[in-house]
Subunit: 371 residues, 2 copies
Amino acid sequence: MTDPAPPPQLLDVATKVDARLASILDEQSHRWRAVDPRLSEAVDELDRMVTSGGKRLRAAFCYWAWKGFGGDVARPASGNGSGPNGAEPADPDGQIIDIGAAFEFLQVFALIHDDIMDDSTTRRGTKTVHVTHAERVVERGWRGEARRYGDGVAILVGDLGHVYADQLVGSIGGRTRELWDELRIELNLGQYLDMRSAAAGTLDLETARQVATFKSALYTIVRPLQVGASLAGQTDPVVLDQLDRFGRPLGRAFQLRDDALGVLGDEKRLGKPVGDDLREGKPTELVAWALAGADGRERAVLDAIGDPDLTSSQVDELVQVLRDTGAVDRNEAEISRLVDEASAVLADLPVTDEGRTALAALATYVADRTL
Amino acid sequence: MTDPAPPPQLLDVATKVDARLASILDEQSHRWRAVDPRLSEAVDELDRMVTSGGKRLRAAFCYWAWKGFGGDVARPASGNGSGPNGAEPADPDGQIIDIGAAFEFLQVFALIHDDIMDDSTTRRGTKTVHVTHAERVVERGWRGEARRYGDGVAILVGDLGHVYADQLVGSIGGRTRELWDELRIELNLGQYLDMRSAAAGTLDLETARQVATFKSALYTIVRPLQVGASLAGQTDPVVLDQLDRFGRPLGRAFQLRDDALGVLGDEKRLGKPVGDDLREGKPTELVAWALAGADGRERAVLDAIGDPDLTSSQVDELVQVLRDTGAVDRNEAEISRLVDEASAVLADLPVTDEGRTALAALATYVADRTL
């Protein structure tokens, strides 16, 4: 596996978005601390998760679509506001960086809530919110059930992230607002289907693809691209459809890479435990292919998927079956094919050369990343 | 205790808002069922909670402030959009009914998440979302922990309600959007303080009032009033401050009534168990007053507050102490005093006679309601 560094087009956006996120969180923390120091604890906990990592991919796809469609030279499209709270953006890309920050707040909201649902202990190399606050009950000798309290705090901290995300979109209207609302509905419904399928043991290929379409293709790539284009004033349905045809295969490739890293990746680099997808019984194409290609003995091994108490040697055995059935190779081949499919659409996209180069670099990165 | 019927000014708004909520949920359910019948399950669960009750108080305060400030005859204020998705409202009060529906989606979002945090089994006379879906795991023999799954579904269904709420506010900008964002932050921080105080056993008067300010005064009354005024084009800081001075005492009265009903109310009428506030150790003024006035024996009884396993005879004993210490009487006296304080501000509010009459009727209702 290659080990590509994040492209500069990603790092540049991440630096600007990080600065915006930090400034909002700092302002909010000070503001609420002045009212009651207990209130700012929730803001500070959100801050901890926002600043502990994150590749800022969604912000970058959005930014480069915006710039690729001339957003840095065009007048804002009709119906778009002038930045949150009615203030003029301080710099030419102020609005698009605000939207990038909105995507990142939304992602942290989704991760914090997902971590409760999956009972994940580690995220971005740090302790998850619900685990941190469950431990606080024990440490401080507080009343009530530690788990219930930890989950409750994480629900609220996530909800707060959702509000800040939306506040940054502010009064932006028109097609951009429709896309923003749509992607939030898709995110929630995709996560519902993911969780329901894991519980019901629905591990077929169609379900895995449906989940990947909602959670990865639409939420992570297609919608950020379309929001960026729309903010640049590009709302031609033909062009938005091209972005869909570029983003869907790329989003599937992103998910297939995620699935592979989830069972074969480096735990330290990922910042989360390897094998948890198998313990949770997540519907993935990798598992669906293994099930389709398994003989009797292999099928018996695969039956352990979804057991939350899988030992690491059982995980190793499962990974061996994923390899032996050809599922791992097929996953890699499919990633390559999907990136090629996306690249062909990108070649025809009516964006600037700079935009095309940046989107190509992002595409390579999401498909080949090792964390 | 009097038993006032909801005033017609509340029922009229509720009827219109209910129709709007039903139409959105019906459209969304059909839409997602066509994509994948499993996706619409989350929408249908939200529908179940939205349609199982709710007084639509926030929508009514917002509506009558809007109408009282001439919203039905004024042009929309600058910066306000033309309804969600850019469509013109179908009728003169289309936009304000959309906002009313937004408040009700937001309230259902908050209730669904609160019910997880409090592990409440019943809400609006029906089974809570997290309990319903935990049971589904058992009924269908699904994998994984039932509680984790039920909580997860409820988190997502709540999140979906939050998105629909915000979608209805849509591209409305300016002061209205600021108020909408502000109240959502206040709602989350207030709930955090409430939960934290219950866990830490912080049952002092100041904490109880801080929680009531955020969760009841601001979120339930002041902000809905200000949003309505702002939508009618009334954003004069002096007037918005008057609404604050009307809404804060009324909101505190609303909370004190809620606290009283939570320990003295009729379980069947309330649609939720009596005594749970005591089991959860919620910080209330009622409890703070009892603690301040208790002798040694009474204080020993009050020490049981926050024990999740309180029996109904223990609850009865606690209620007796709340009465004996004068806390119940003081709560009633304080409600009367607060309503008088609010009424005095209302008398000077520059609204139409019709608006003043409606707001007075709502004020009486929230303070004297029996459910």
